[in-house]
């Protein structure tokens, strides 16, 4: 009995393991004034080899489904419906 419950626990842990990160950034042709200010400040700090800084948003998303394809599709849907505004922003999904 004990052994099966440990197995079940492990199985459940595995099931809940699908975790994704989403990075949302402004599209290339959209001005990013915050990124520019950060860039200028880094330059003032002596970071000479700096050519560009773009600022963005970062999300970590845990899913309770175990099918990776389905999970990725779900996260993609989340990005399209809410996390990113596709008129001004791009997004990138990675599994973590």
């Amino acid at each position: 009995m004990k052994l099966t419950s440990v197995k079940l626990l492990l199985l459940n842990l595995k099931k809940n393991k699908l975790k994704f990160s989403v990075t949302v950034t402004l599209k290339k042709d959209v001005l990013d004034p915050q990124g520019k200010v950060v860039q200028n400040t880094l330059k003032n700090l002596g970071m000479r080899d700096l050519s560009n800084v773009r600022q963005g948003k970062y999300f970590e998303i845990d899913l309770s489904i175990d099918d990776q394809d389905k999970a990725e599709k779900k996260v993609d849907e989340m990005c399209k419906k809410l996390l990113a505004n596709l008129i001004i922003e791009d997004y990138k999904i990675s599994k973590i």
Partner: protein
């Protein structure tokens, strides 16, 4: 005329617009964002403020609220929709108006009176203004920098869908009198059918000479017309 003002957590111009509408003889009702039915309305106003604390993007969360589905249905049936400031941001997030409102170019919250020019006075919202009339009107926003893609901008110009542009007191439109970096100095736009107006300036703050001026009155009397 029946009007409805939608309230979200964080709306803060809802009372101002209600006062302005009632002063202009609208029969107004306030509608909470969790409601799923709209009262019979000829005009729906999405007021200014900071719905949901501007979380994620200004207007993004409000743009997915329950009542918005009803607003979209009403808009598609031809109901007049006015979005002011955060209301404009919400309308772009719902897709009822195209484009987006980005952070002000100078990264600062701007609260001041500016001049805007009436670019199109042939609409339900602007017919009481003269063409090219210059208004003195308040703006108060952090994300008012209107952006849209080239094709849509072309369409806005060709189909005369720009309602207002930022200008100086003589009506000159250039970078020096663009407070927030908006493309083409745009302060307000219509949708294709011109039953939806989104604008960053606050006409509801300009309806009483005691506290400001009366440059906003004609927007409401146009609607009554």
């Amino acid at each position: 005329m029946n009007s409805s003002v939608i309230i979200f957590p964080g709306s803060n111009c809802d009372r101002d617009i209600a006062v302005a509408l009632e002063k202009m003889q609208f029969k107004n009702q306030m509608v909470w964002h969790k409601d799923t039915k709209l009262p019979k309305s000829d005009l729906i106003v999405i007021p200014g403020g900071f719905s949901y604390g501007d979380y994620l993007r200004s207007g993004a969360i409000a743009g997915k609220s329950l009542i918005i589905n009803e607003v979209i249905k009403a808009a598609n049936d031809g109901c007049l929709i006015l979005g002011i400031c955060n209301g404009f941001q919400i309308l772009t997030e719902t897709g009822l108006l195209k484009g987006a409102l980005l952070r002000n170019k100078n990264l600062k919250f701007i609260n001041k009176n500016v001049n805007i020019k009436v670019i199109n006075n042939k609409s339900n919202f602007t017919n009481k203004y003269k063409a090219n009339q210059i208004l003195d009107i308040n703006i108060a926003h952090n994300e008012g920098n209107y952006f849209t893609n080239k094709d849509h901008l072309k369409k806005l110009i060709q189909e005369n869908l720009i309602a207002f542009k930022y200008c100086d007191k003589n009506g000159n439109i250039n970078d020096d009198n663009n407070p927030n970096g908006s493309i083409e100095n745009i302060a307000g736009i219509f949708n294709e059918k011109k039953n939806i107006l989104g604008m960053m300036p606050h006409p509801e703050r300009m309806v009483d000479n005691m506290i400001s001026n009366s440059d906003g009155i004609n927007l409401f009397s146009s609607l009554m017309n």
